[in-house]
């Protein structure tokens, strides 16, 4: 009996000790907490997601420039924005397949290269670091020379990167990031020159699918169309970023994916911009530089990616995708007053159209790739004459369909890139084309939508994740 009582008391004591210990023991006592502030960063200097410091990071690599090129490709559609390359002696294409000189992996996107004196520039997006990155490569070797980047977190939406840098003759490289961050760098050293946030400065509303506007440099002036609350277009000193002139946004246009196109209408140098809400012309020279000359609200697609294409001294071809189709804008001056009106407008299956790329006016004809809603000829290369926008004079073959792929004219030849990475080369005749060759330049390519660039016999092209350079001449 006595032993039984002792056993009971011992048992109770043991269990009491165990339960007490269980309750009192802190299993997380050896844990290390990872909480903000462990790096002793000074209070108040913490970074938030939207604390964008444009151009804050820089990396210079060991590679050195192998040599300057004689030709450059200074921005969207080249220096004159025609997307046409002309040589006094036409380029002699390589016998056999074009040789790949280099290939570089990029973040997912469609930003295409520009070239200046042997350097190729791409405004990439690095998902790992959530950063826009201006990357400078050696044109001949593909070796990366430097990169300058800044953190700007955003969500993937058909990739990230979009636009092509613009480069001044003296080598200032200007970029517009997907969220409207403008950065100017020294094209040689990568030194940061100046920056501007379009959303903060002009209250720009960046469109769905991000900013697609490619900057325009004319001489020493940078032209942007922020299409903000109060300011439609600005001319900046490309050396300093200082505003020289600003066009009030009286017509309340919003930013589209289209770019400002320089044109001479009548005898007037004009900057034409197709925004969301209409298309306008702004004086590019003279005493009234920066003044809006005309505006037309008859062109109102909800999404505009291609840029306006000048057909002659008073006609502009307008085009947009997603069912919008095309239109012909006539601009005239009567007694000092400018008038702009749409004289023809139609759906995509009723005439020449384009969803993403800007058509090319070459030798009096318009070359385009028809959009996916372009009827039976959809996604084919087509030639139209400006006098009849409703009937093609030539279409590529049934199996030569390019999706949203880019195209460029080099010495009477059209280089068209299928969006899966097949490059087609056509000989351009008066009203037709002849297929010369085709080559799969990006194996298993996808979404090759970024425009191509050319310099010194080298063709630069890209798909969603790779930029490549091919030698196309002997």
């Amino acid at each position: 009996m006595k032993n039984s009582r002792i056993i009971t008391l011992v048992t109770i004591a043991v269990w009491t000790a165990v339960l007490s210990g269980w309750h009192l023991y802190d299993p997380s006592g050896g844990f290390t907490q990872f909480v903000p502030g462990a790096d002793k960063r000074p209070p108040g200097s913490e970074r938030k997601a939207d604390d964008v410091m444009i151009g804050e990071f820089f990396m210079k690599y060991d590679a050195t420039l192998s040599g300057e090129s004689s030709e450059s490709w200074l921005g969207f559609r080249g220096a004159d924005r025609t997307n046409i390359v002309r040589h006094s002696v036409p380029l002699k294409l390589t016998e056999g397949e074009f040789k790949e000189l280099w290939s570089v992996e990029t973040g997912e996107g469609h930003a295409a290269p520009a070239v200046w004196k042997g350097r190729a520039y791409v405004l990439d997006y690095n998902e790992q670091l959530s950063s826009d990155a201006l990357r400078c490569f050696d044109l001949k070797t593909g070796e990366e020379l430097w990169r300058r980047w800044y953190r700007v977190p955003m969500k993937r939406n058909h990739g990230f990167s979009r636009t092509i840098p613009a480069i001044s003759e003296d080598g200032r490289v200007v970029t517009i990031g997907p969220e409207g961050h403008v950065m100017c760098c020294n094209g040689d050293t990568g030194e940061l020159v100046w920056t501007m946030d379009l959303k903060k400065r002009f209250s720009t509303e960046v469109p769905f699918w991000y900013a697609g506007q490619c900057p325009l440099i004319m001489g020493d002036e940078l032209i942007l169309a922020p299409a903000g609350t109060d300011t439609l277009m600005v001319g900046l000193d490309v050396a300093t970023g200082g505003v020289r002139w600003a066009t009030p946004n009286d017509c309340k246009l919003k930013m589209s994916h289209s770019s400002v196109m320089p044109m001479t209408l009548g005898s007037k140098s004009t900057l034409v911009y197709a925004g969301i809400g209409g298309v306008c012309g702004v004086s590019a020279d003279g005493a009234n530089k920066g003044k809006m000359l005309w505006f037309c609200n008859q062109w109102q697609p909800s999404v505009i990616a291609p840029s306006p294409l000048q057909l002659n001294s008073n006609q502009i071809f307008l085009v947009a995708g997603y069912g919008a189709g095309g239109g012909l804008l006539q601009v005239d001056q009567f007694g000092g007053v400018w008038q702009a009106k749409i004289t023809d407008q139609y759906k995509a299956d009723k005439g020449i159209s384009s969803e993403q790329q800007t058509p090319i006016l070459y030798k009096g004809n318009i070359i385009t790739i028809l959009p996916k809603d372009g009827g039976g000829m959809r996604e084919r290369v087509s030639i139209y004459q400006p006098g009849n926008l409703h009937r093609a004079v030539w279409n590529s073959a049934n199996d030569e369909r390019f999706g949203l792929g880019p195209y460029i004219v080099i010495d009477d030849r059209l280089f068209a890139l299928k969006e899966d990475g097949q490059l087609f080369v056509y000989e351009i005749n008066d009203d037709s084309m002849k297929l010369l060759r085709k080559q799969n330049v990006i194996i298993d390519g996808a979404d090759a939508w970024g425009p191509m660039a050319y310099a010194d016999g080298m063709l630069l092209l890209r798909d969603a994740k790779t930029v490549k350079c091919f030698k196309i001449n002997d």
Binding site: D39, R41, N126
Partner: protein, 144 residues
């Protein structure tokens, strides 16, 4: 003995899983002389973090082996705690893809059992793990 050539390493992750030790003898080394002391470090932060601070959810390292200390604006000094490192190489991949490549994997010789047939070397996809003389036990980036 065996060692990893950082120039060949692809950071495939097999060093973490194939070593005969329960916690791999492969560790991340850090070359301070190569490091850019960046605030926005691809080896320290995982992708698409919302805020650049030391909260656990922002860390690339799954074991918390990398710590950093503020030096001066905008520089930070990074340190690896080898006792926590499992050799997964995630930080190395992040650093090399967008940084100076100051983080790299090495076999910690004090932990290595010096198996005659290193199990990791058999599966290394890039042939980065090689036999080296004892006097060249490490392939460091901040030493000539």
């Amino acid at each position: 003995m065996w060692q990893i050539d950082p120039e060949k390493c692809l950071q495939c992750g097999r060093c973490q899983t194939e070593c005969v030790l329960s916690v791999s003898a492969v560790k991340c080394f850090h070359a301070n002389q190569v490091c850019g002391y960046c605030d926005l470090c691809g080896g320290y932060y995982r992708a698409n973090v919302k805020e650049l601070n030391t909260a656990a959810e922002n860390m690339m390292c799954p074991t918390g082996a990398i710590t950093r200390l503020f030096v001066e604006e905008p520089y930070f000094e990074y340190t690896i705690d080898e006792s926590l490192c499992n050799g997964c190489g995630k930080c190395v991949k992040g650093c090399s893809s967008f940084g100076n490549g100051s983080l790299f994997l090495q076999i910690q010789q004090e932990l290595c059992l010096n198996c005659n047939e290193c199990k990791i070397s058999k599966v290394c996809v890039s042939g980065a793990i090689q036999r080296v003389p004892v006097r060249q036990g490490y392939k460091l980036k901040d030493h000539a």
